[in-house]
């Protein structure tokens, strides 16, 4: 089984660009969180691909740590979102602009 590593490069590039597009395109804060997850996963795929092709374990350990950090980030972020929803009754990021100035 020999898949060229560039294919994984293009796959993770496409995933990352979809994530960036989603962050720019949508206004719902929850979907923006999901797109951030998508970008993190694009990086994870690339790390696993390179660590497999270079026969190096460190990449996979890094992916494990990235997953832990992503889980923590999602927990705290969703808690903040629920808090904001309680105060403003919306998850629209154009209304949640009180930190702007």
């Amino acid at each position: 089984m020999n898949i060229p590593v560039e294919y994984y490069l293009w796959l993770s590039l496409a995933l990352f660009c979809i994530g960036v597009l989603g962050v720019l395109y949508r206004r719902n804060a929850i979907i923006i969180f999901m797109c951030i997850e998508l970008m993190l996963n694009a990086v994870n795929v690339l790390l696993v691909a390179f660590s497999t092709y270079l026969n190096d374990v460190d990449g996979q350990v890094f992916v494990f740590f990235i997953m832990a950090v992503a889980a923590a980030e999602v927990a705290v972020g969703l808690a903040i979102l629920i808090m904001m929803y309680r105060n403003t009754r919306t998850t629209d990021i154009d209304i949640l602009n009180r930190l702007k100035w």
Binding site: I3, Y25, N28, N41, D58, V74, A75, L78
Partner: protein
């Protein structure tokens, strides 16, 4: 589909499908441990959390906010430009075909490395998760 579906619940379901596909790619890359952890953490924990929050906030298609057309076009153009930039910078990569060994992604090798070379980051990760848990509970409390 995650980006363009109108209902947030459909977005979450498409994202779960995407995560299962990524898990399949991990299996293909001989990273069995990471594949299992990925499925458990993402499909099992994070997406359930997202679904819970969506149900809790009762968001649906009608209440979904939308940007103006100009902003959407600008977003698509910016995303496309980033894609063009990355494609252009990665076009000159050379072929790298190394035959894979089979034991790199197994629990045994990965655990050995994780508990010898990466012992301190591993413990710090546990503290981070504890801090995130306490923080989420504190924020979510009234």
């Amino acid at each position: 589909m995650v980006v363009f579906s109108k209902s947030p619940v459909h977005s979450v379901l498409y994202l779960i499908i995407t995560f299962f596909c990524i898990g399949g790619h991990y299996v293909l890359l001989n990273a069995q441990f990471l594949a299992v952890v990925h499925i458990i953490v993402y499909a099992g924990a994070i997406m359930v959390l997202f679904l819970y929050v969506l149900m809790l906030l009762n968001l649906n298609r009608e209440s979904e906010p939308h940007k103006s057309t100009v902003m959407k076009v600008a977003a698509v153009i910016c995303g496309g430009l980033i894609m063009v930039l990355l494609v252009g910078s990665l076009r000159g990569t050379e072929q790298m075909m190394i035959t894979q060994s089979t034991d790199i992604g197994m629990v045994k090798t990965l655990g050995k490395v994780m508990f010898t070379d990466f012992l301190l980051p591993f413990e710090i990760t546990s503290i981070l998760l504890l801090a995130a848990m306490v923080g989420a509970v504190m924020i979510g409390k009234k």
